[in-house]
């Protein structure tokens, strides 16, 4: 009888992999966007299994609540009025599959040949506390620079989107 975590891991892994296939191969771009939602949500669930609960919530807020919404906005703004279907075309996929399989094999070899440094997990109750402490003391400079990055992104993207 497998552990409950193992069962949950397999369920979420199956969800993530199958829906990421739909993201890549769906003919309709809206199906891709909705499947990306399931993939990101499943990844958030895996973050909880890995005891990174605050990052799971961040994933839901930033990726699902932010980036996915922005993506759907982008889809709605770049659809041509003239053609009613928003289907997309493919290249010939044989070389792409070879490249991807190459990446897969190389990474699997790296995974199998490396001796990972595994420590016993730290028993912790809330990760938000530690993240907040580290963020405001050790990682103060990246924290402030992140705001500058966001500022520049806002200004730059607004400039791109502006009508000239």
């Amino acid at each position: 009888m497998p552990d409950i975590n193992t069962i949950l891991f397999y369920i979420f892994a199956f969800l993530i992999v199958s829906f990421s296939f739909i993201v890549v191969f769906a003919k309709n771009i809206i199906y891709s966007a909705v499947s990306l939602f399931v993939t990101l949500f499943g990844t958030a669930a895996l973050y909880i299994l890995l005891r990174a609960d605050f990052l799971a919530i961040t994933q839901v807020m930033v990726y699902i609540g932010g980036i996915l919404i922005l993506l759907i906005f982008g889809i709605m703004m770049t659809t041509r009025i003239t053609d009613s279907e928003i289907k997309t075309t493919n290249l010939s996929s044989v070389p792409a599959v070879f490249v991807s399989a190459g990446v897969f094999v190389i990474l699997i070899i790296v995974l199998l040949t490396t001796k990972w440094n595994i420590n016993p997990p730290v028993e912790n109750d809330v990760t938000v506390n530690r993240i907040g402490n580290l963020l405001l003391t050790t990682y103060l400079l990246p924290f402030e620079i992140a705001s500058v990055v966001l500022l520049i992104a806002l200004m730059g993207a607004a400039m791109y989107a502006r009508k000239k």
Partner: protein, 107 residues
Amino acid sequence: MIFIFSNMVSLDYFLTLSIILFSIGVIGVLIRRNAIIIFMSIELMLNSVNLSLISFSSFMGDSQGQILVFFVMAVAAAEAAVGLAIIIALFRNKETINIDEINILKW
């Protein structure tokens, strides 16, 4: 209803899942010609890298990796904003987001 975390799911499981996700993202970037789908595939790859980072951080018992992922997510939001603005600007100029038709710079 108590889900006690035990180390039955080892690091290899998460890393293998991350590798599979990354390979799917690579396929998506290579075969799709719609700029937004390519963008989604890049998000998939970014997501897989985040997953492997968090699993390293969790299995090393070191929470500083979570800070790194936190910043990665913040930068990913900025990247998504700028990337989609570029796609929209391209669409305004060329009336298409098929990247095979966006080839002015091609020699």
